[in-house]
């Protein structure tokens, strides 16, 4: 961003990478996939790079309002300094915080989650999901992240994105407004869960696996059309079933759950951006 500013240019969008997108090895792949899409369609974008710092979401949800506001003010100063109007991010937590909590502190931007952004690119015909990997015959189920869904009422965009993939989309029993948390929100990501019977991500992964395996009632295509895909027996690999996510924490929690269930062989967890990038043949 600093380079761009030095050249006196402003980007169409600022891509807010987020801490997970910058540091988590798995989610760095998502960051790269999204950047490839941006470059592929020729969107003029910028990132803050080293000037970016945590939005303060985990601090705020854990009750550390002071730390949150320090972070928020710092970020707002940076963003306002560059005259940023539009922010796009692949993290629902960053999205929620910047969109809903920054305005009262002086940071007003149009904030877009990457699922909505991708949906717009698809609607404009700029992304066609052609020429890359085919997802024909593979089952995909989308795990709603709380901070996208219930927190901000975004349910359709990620589903619309998956729809261009020509895959068999199946819906989990608890989805959309009834979706079950992956277990990482509210700063749970950084601590051990309290004692209980089970970890939340295991419960959620079991539900996802049951849906993908067809053991559970097949709830049909995400648009409501009944899926015709045969149930994938455990251990078989049709190119694998997919749990699609739109959040770095969900990614970690679901991937851990799949590992815990020893199903990495036939079930993979991908972010929406990765799926679109590979369908577009952008996975260099």
């Amino acid at each position: 961003m600093a380079d761009l500013a030095a050249r006196g240019e402003t980007p169409e969008v600022l891509f807010w990478v987020g801490c997970a997108g910058a540091f988590d090895d798995r989610y760095k792949r998502v960051t790269r996939a999204f950047v490839r899409i941006l470059e592929h369609v020729g969107v003029k974008y910028a990132v803050l790079g080293m000037e970016e710092t945590c939005t303060g979401d985990p601090a705020k949800r854990a009750g550390n309002e002071f730390l949150f506001q320090m972070q928020a003010m710092q970020n707002i100063t940076t963003l306002n300094g560059y005259g940023i109007k539009t922010v796009v991010t692949a993290c629902p937590h960053c999205f929620n915080t910047i969109k809903n909590e920054y305005p009262a502190l002086g940071g007003e931007y149009e904030v877009i989650h990457h699922s909505t952004f991708l949906q717009q690119l698809i609607n404009q015909g700029r992304v066609k999901a052609e020429g890359g990997e085919s997802f024909k015959g593979r089952r995909i189920t989308f795990h709603d992240s709380c901070y996208l869904g219930r927190a901000n009422n975004i349910y359709e965009a990620p589903r619309a994105v998956l729809e261009v993939l020509d895959a068999d989309l199946v819906e989990m029993k608890r989805c959309k407004t009834n979706g079950l948390c992956c277990g990482a929100g509210g700063a749970q990501m950084w601590k051990e869960p309290e004692p209980g019977k089970k970890d939340i991500n295991i419960e959620r992964t079991e539900e996802a696996l049951a849906t993908l395996d067809g053991n559970a009632e097949v709830l049909g295509n995400l648009t409501g059309v009944e899926s015709t895909a045969p149930g994938l027996p455990a251990g078989s690999n049709h190119g694998g079933s997919i749990i699609a996510v739109g959040c770095p924490f969900c990614m970690t929690m679901m991937a851990d759950g799949v590992k815990n269930k020893e199903r990495e062989q036939d079930v993979q967890v991908f972010d929406l951006a990765e799926l679109i990038a590979s369908a577009e043949g952008l996975n260099a």
Binding site: C19, A22, G63, F66, N152, P193, E194
Partner: protein
Amino acid sequence: MHFSIQNILFLLVAVAGFGLFAWQARKIRANILVGRDRDMSGHVNERLWKTLLVAFGQQKMFKRLTPAFLHLIVYIGFIVINIEVIEILIDGIFGTHRVLGFMGPLYSALTGTNEVLGALVVLAVTAFWWRRNVQGVRRFSGPEMRAWPKLDANVILYIEVVLMVALFLMNSADLKAHQLEGKDLDGAFPISQFLTGLLPDNVSSLVVLERVGWWAHIVGILLFLNYLPSSKHFHIIMAFPNVYFSRLVPQGQFSNVDSITHEVKAMMDPTYQVPTPATNPDGSAVAPTPFGAKDVNDLAWTNLLNAYSCTECGRCTSVCPANLTGKLLSPRKIIMDTRDRMEEKYNSPLVFDPALYGKEAKHDPQEQLDKENHTLLRGYVTPEELWACTTCNACVEACPVNINPLESIVEMRRFLVLEESAAPNSLNVMFSNIENNGAPWAFSPSDRFNWADDLYMAEKA
């Protein structure tokens, strides 16, 4: 119209009944007003619309069809049968009999609907009783469903049946007395006409039975009215203001603490003018309010209003990921604790006084606390419960009367962190990472761009 001692008695009973209710309502209003101020004015149309949908329209009940259907019967029955109460009041005061009878076919429609709904209500209430006591629907149990909440739920069902029985006794006795005298009775009685066979064939006994039914109905209603403030059934009144004053912002938006905003702004910009702190009427500075909530009076008044609107239905707890996986947290318990604590510390209603129900009425606090520290936080709600919350908003989404348990949870977390520095250690590590590295993990800010390094490895190579 003939005045008698009955009318005077009725007036006394009615004035006492409504007066007592007004007195109880004032106590509860006072309890709610101990909460922190929060501006909920404006957006009147939006709020009214929401109240119409969620409170009148039962919108959120329809996530679960069986209870929604049963509840709808009782709800509509309650509204329609209350039109009859208007007639009872007029008859009672002026010594008239079935004063609305002049409306002819309209009156028949009214009484007929009343009877059918009355019968359906009895069926629905029986089904409710079955679900609660025999079928054992899971969300009706749980550690917070202690002696009083359990009893309360059934008492309400019994009262509802008694009220309906009184209604049918009144109608069928009236009908039969008229039949025996060869007179017509205004109205239609699709159910009572079959019940007349159960009654004696003697007009004077029937007149007495009709009076018994009439009095039981109205006295029952007045007693019920005064039972409400002690009961989860108070939701039939409180659901309306509660939905009206519920949040309009996205569920993910948490409040920003203003006092902290001033502090942070002053730190970042020395020229920033912090507004002068409020002063007491005598000019002395008002004692600073603590961050977050330790006790009920630290919560916003809307959170306290929430506590009086809770139906203890457990929809919140049954979708809570923490509760589902066996953790101690139950959002319903947070709300019930808030109400119990308010009534312990300030006013308690007529029937339910938490102190009277002793230990049974409360959750055992996990720590032995002196009186000073016997507050909502720690006295009722333990930090372990609070830290299990993923802030997923499932409880908020599920609540049929728009209660927000999450707000209270976050306020108490704020107290633990900002006033007591009592966060779990791993969270303290996260805090210091953010402070020092600008990221919740221990990575150096200079590595923030590393993801780009191998972006075009193929091309670069």
